[in-house]
């Protein structure tokens, strides 16, 4: 048992942003784990992602490329990774906290009898095994956990670690793996539906997010948030309440069970700031909150706060922005 293995699934030839955060974690752990770093990339068409992953400074990149891995099919991705771990016997496996990654990590920990250390914001290895810090109770509480026995499967929290820079030197050699599950599959994938792709920007990439919640009362006000987002060159996001109510698609959800975001500006409108929402946006550079309830917990995390009715605040905010941005462009 030795070494660190980073696992990442590739969709549409794109390497996930979290990959470089996992590289940071791997570099931090490398001196105490030993045995070097390997990368496993899984998907049906790795495309450009493979070339990028070869710059991570790993001893090699193992490629799990197969038509059956086109879907985010947890069982298939897990079986492919488990078979590889059977051959490589890594001491630490790092997996990104995506819906697919989190499940692959859990399944792998069960199969290997490994300790799963989930959602970590800080991690180190010493004589007593892995010690990590992680938020629990929706981020209201910080827990220090310890897993003495390896192997370990570690799932870092998105944005908790800085993205690593590509390594200098030669690109890592590539080793292709066969997809040979140990057991016949028991879960099966059918038709896939993509929603909200028409013009909706990826909220994880936007530098400015204008986010709406329960206080908006329905889908209609999101159009106003869209106007503000457009003026700021950003995108619209939402809280879980707005998504569960069907006002906006799931792809816009920020929070523990949605996306984790770290924009330059997060403008929250009509969101009280339940801990599971704050868990997804607390890494924003600047947070501005508009809420009619002065006791809303979100204000405790905000840089700027407006206590008021969004119906009055936001249209005036939009108009003032429009005016100021126009003037400064002329000047």
């Amino acid at each position: 048992m030795a070494g660190i293995l980073i696992h990442s699934a590739v969709e549409q030839g794109e390497l996930r942003a979290e990959f470089w955060e996992l590289v940071t974690v791997a570099r931090q752990l490398a001196p105490s784990v030993g045995g070097g770093l390997r990368v496993a990339l899984a998907g049906s068409q790795l495309g450009d992602a493979l070339e990028q992953a070869r710059r991570a400074g790993a001893a090699e990149v193992r490629v799990l490329e197969h038509a059956q891995l086109a879907d985010p099919w947890p069982e298939g991705h897990f079986e492919a990774l488990a078979a590889l771990c059977g051959r490589l016997d890594p001491e630490v496996v790092l997996v990104p906290r995506t819906p697919l990654g989190a499940e692959v990590a859990a399944r792998l920990a069960i199969r290997r009898g490994a300790s799963l250390v989930h959602d970590v914001t800080h991690v180190q290895k010493g004589a007593d095994g892995i010690t990590a810090t992680r938020p629990v109770f929706g981020g209201a509480v910080s827990a220090t956990v310890q897993a003495r026995r390896g192997p370990w499967v570690i799932v870092p929290r998105p944005h908790a670690f800085a993205a690593a820079a590509p390594a200098d030197g030669e690109a890592s050699p590539v080793v292709r793996e066969a997809f040979a599950p140990a057991t016949p599959p028991r879960t099966f994938c059918g038709a896939r539906t993509r929603q909200g792709s028409s013009g909706a920007k990826d909220i994880e990439k936007a530098r400015v997010l204008v986010s709406g919640g329960a206080g908006l009362g329905g889908p209609e006000p999101f159009r106003l948030l869209g106007e503000v987002a457009e003026l700021l060159g950003g995108a619209v996001a939402a809280s879980r309440v707005a998504v569960d109510a069907g006002w906006v698609p799931t792809s816009l959800q920020v929070g523990l069970t949605g996306r984790s975001v770290a924009p330059d500006l997060y403008l929250a409108v009509g969101i009280s700031g339940a801990t599971h929402h704050l868990a997804g946006c607390s890494s924003a550079q600047v947070i501005a909150v508009v809420n009619s309830d002065p006791a809303a917990p979100f204000f405790r995390l905000a840089n700027y706060g407006v206590v008021g009715d969004w119906k009055e605040v936001i249209p005036a905010f939009r108009d003032a922005l429009k005016e100021k941005l126009a003037t400064s462009r002329v000047a």
Partner: protein
């Protein structure tokens, strides 16, 4: 056909952080002073999935199952008031733990004791530790396939089919029964019980089981131990925008964000 819905009693996630209290010696949360615990939200949605399934199948026996150290009976009996046929509670001090193996082992033993279970429904994760591993462990221990993140659950013959939520949409997935299925919030909220159902269930007692009844041995040390819990202080100081009215505050916010360089003209291009 019989379904078990696993319910976890948790500290209400809407409890303001200022009212949370820790027992640092025991490395546990104290019960919130502000109000009673709640059923984990995703588990409530799993119960709603079971109730909808009963409506579409015409017949389904629903057993609500929970483990814990101490139960708030009014909270747990809500499952009966909305339509669960039976409530089974396994009580033991060792079950108030974030140790997934301990919890999954006890759940699996209880499900075997209930017997002839075709479908196990769980919430996608618990709102306290968010590990999302217990349903997968449970499936492994029961030898069942596991489908996760369902926003819709249906049963046709011996097969369960779900719509699995993905970051950019959803995908249909299926497996043979018996199976474990986890449910996500997009499925929709648990229905409200009627006043009459609430009254009718007031007299129904849950079935209480101990670990000895289930043949579950004493706890082994967990693989992942909790060493410490602490409440971090919020790291920002909020500057409140003072203005005569909402519109003035909105204009002022735009000025402040531009002066601070947070909003720049090039951001608009």
């Amino acid at each position: 056909m019989r379904a078990v819905v696993c319910l976890k009693q948790v500290v209400d996630p809407l409890t303001p952080a200022t009212e949370l209290a820790l027992d640092r010696a025991a490395k546990k949360m104290k019960p919130a002073a502000a109000g009673p615990p709640v059923i984990n939200g995703y588990d409530e949605q799993a119960l709603e999935a079971a109730l909808r399934l009963r409506e579409s199948l015409g017949q389904l026996e629903i057993v609500a199952l929970s483990l814990g150290e101490r139960f708030h009976l009014d909270v747990m009996k809500r499952s009966l008031a909305v339509g669960a046929d039976q409530l089974v509670l396994v009580q033991d001090p060792s079950l108030d733990t974030p140790d997934s193996h301990r919890v999954a082992t006890a759940l699996a033993a209880a499900i075997r004791k209930i017997g002839a279970v075709d479908l196990v429904l769980c919430g996608r994760q618990a709102s306290d530790w968010d590990n999302a591993i217990v349903p997968l462990l449970l499936a492994e221990l029961l030898g069942m396939p596991c489908l996760t993140l369902a926003r819709r659950v249906s049963v046709q013959g011996a097969r369960v089919e779900i719509d699995r939520v993905l970051p950019d949409g959803s995908q249909t997935m299926w497996s043979e029964l018996p199976a474990v299925v986890t449910v996500t919030s997009e499925l929709g909220a648990l229905r409200m019980p009627t006043a009459r159902a609430r009254l009718a269930t007031a007299r129904i007692q849950p079935k209480l089981l101990t670990l000895a009844d289930l043949g579950v041995a004493a706890a082994e040390p967990p693989q992942v131990e909790v060493r410490d819990l602490s409440i971090p202080v919020a790291g920002r100081e909020c500057r409140f925008v003072e203005a005569a009215d909402g519109a003035a505050a909105g204009r002022r916010l735009a000025e402040i964000l531009m002066e601070a360089g947070v909003v720049r003209p090039e951001g608009a291009r």
